[in-house]
Amino acid sequence: MEKEKRNNLIMTFIAIALVYLVVFILELTLRPTSIVFTVLRKGAIYSLVAVSMNLLNGFTGLFSLGQAGFMLLGAYTYAILTIPTEVKQSDRVYRYYDAVINFDTGVFVALIAAGLVAAFFAFLIGLPVLRLKSDYLAIATLGFAEIIRAIFQWDVLGPLTNGANLLREFKDLSRITLPFSDIPFPPTLFVFIVAGVCILLVVLLINSSYGRAFKAIRDDEVAAEAMGINLFKHKEMSFVISSFFAGISGALLAMFQYTVQAQQFRTMLTYEILLIVVIGGIGSISGSCIASFLYIALSEWWLRGLDMGTFLGINAPELFRSGFRRLVFSVIIMIIVLFFSKGIMGDKEISFERMKHLFRKKRKAKGADA
């Protein structure tokens, strides 16, 4: 049994390595502007937020609606830190304000800082809210996300956030280089590596002693507490870690979009991510990842023709016009939610063992037919 487990682990690692290899080869061969890269990058970024949300909702049983707010904090922190000092001092970005942050950092430092700032705000919100027995977290985080979006566009903070104006010219995906050199780093691979490392950390956490404590709280707070698990401490921990990774994904989103503006981090973004978590399966990391890529591929790529006049080779400009895609998309989501009420994966993870079982069952079924 131990051996089989190890084999499965090795197989999983090989499969993941293959994914990264494919991404690398695609970047060497395809046009850099190909839609495939948009889907891959955005899919990886959404995977990370979805996983961070799942850590909280799916594994700790806490319901938070602040993802967009924490992503905003991460995006702004990253952008502000990596706009080169000479750009800050010129009026190319801060046209109406004098930038107060008069230094710039590397990509790595800025990414970590993005996570830390988001985590710090989560810590502050958690202090009063997570001590309460009932679940006020959803309301508190939703309010926080709305307020932070308004505050970041506030004139007074202009020297920091550039007010309601865009932030740009920071180290976006086109400006990533290999460490200590000018050789450009493949951007999609970069997103995959950062998101992948973060998701790996979450997986390690979930399977650690602390992760088990989180699950215990989700299953039964009273029993968890009776087993010596401090509810407040562990809830706060989960909330802060979840927000840390939401912050990093916000930074990645900023890099992906080349510009940042507070306006775009609406509650709609949180709902989108919640939808992905539900579709993927609450309590399944691999489910969140698969659902992210499917969701992005559907909305950004496969259903595009529905807005552009031609879909699956059918040319019907009257039907397939702007807005039709949203309609079809909503219907698909509704069907998934109705017929897979536990999401694609339920609370299980994808694994070779399960696939083997599936194939074996199919083969047996065929054998019975013959």
Binding site: S209, A226, N230
Partner: protein, 281 residues
Amino acid sequence: MKNLLELEHVTMQFGGVVAVNDLSMHVDENEIVALIGPNGAGKTTAFNCITGVYEPSNGKISYDGKCIIANHPSGKMAKLYAGKEHEMYLGGKVLAPTPDEITKLGIARTFQNIRLFKSMNVFDNVLTAMHVRAKANLFSSVFRLSWKEEKEMRDATEKLLKEQNLWEMRAEEATSLPYGLQRRLEIARALATRPKLLLLDEPAAGMNPQETQELASFIKEIKERYGLTVLMIEHHMDLVMNISDRIYVLDFGSLIAEGTPEEVQSNQRVIDAYLGVAENV
């Protein structure tokens, strides 16, 4: 013999309902003590006061010679208070630890309505309860720097499950086990927190006579093996009379009798309030 747990004038009042009224009792080291009484007498409420689930309205609870819980009626409760010994602790210090702090002191419990971790298998239910004694911090736990401790916890879980004859079912979902085994698993999980004092809330509920008999020897066995002290609530009189050293009888929140099984069995008040009824059931 050393006094391990002591309740002094503990009263628990919910609004106008006095669920536990001026309860004083003690449990000595290595004893098995039973708390009995009719439905609604306040037995589970007494457990909840000891384990920090409820903050008693009045009274003091000591463990291992140290005061761990103390309260007196204040604020709204000062006017509402309907229990006895009202002045006793007025102005004293207030101590209200959370249940996890009580568990850390070495008091573990099971629940009347079984509360296992639903999504976990048998093995993980016990393993999770070891978290309270783990020394690893978040960082060393995530990065597996504490893999040695993790292995020790897994080994200890294996040992515990084998001793409780639950090892064969380790991979099964905890809630899919038959009732009797779920109760046994709950005890195993409580033992994983390494308690000195074990509180069992109706451990034989829902068991057939044979299972109940097995449970009696099981409780005695774990008591010896882990050097435990046991306080249990139970309705099965044969189990109570068979294994308890002393018995406390509650009725409508108040203590009506205490003593050895023989003494309690021949006490007229107990027979009127409880035993007579219990025999008819």
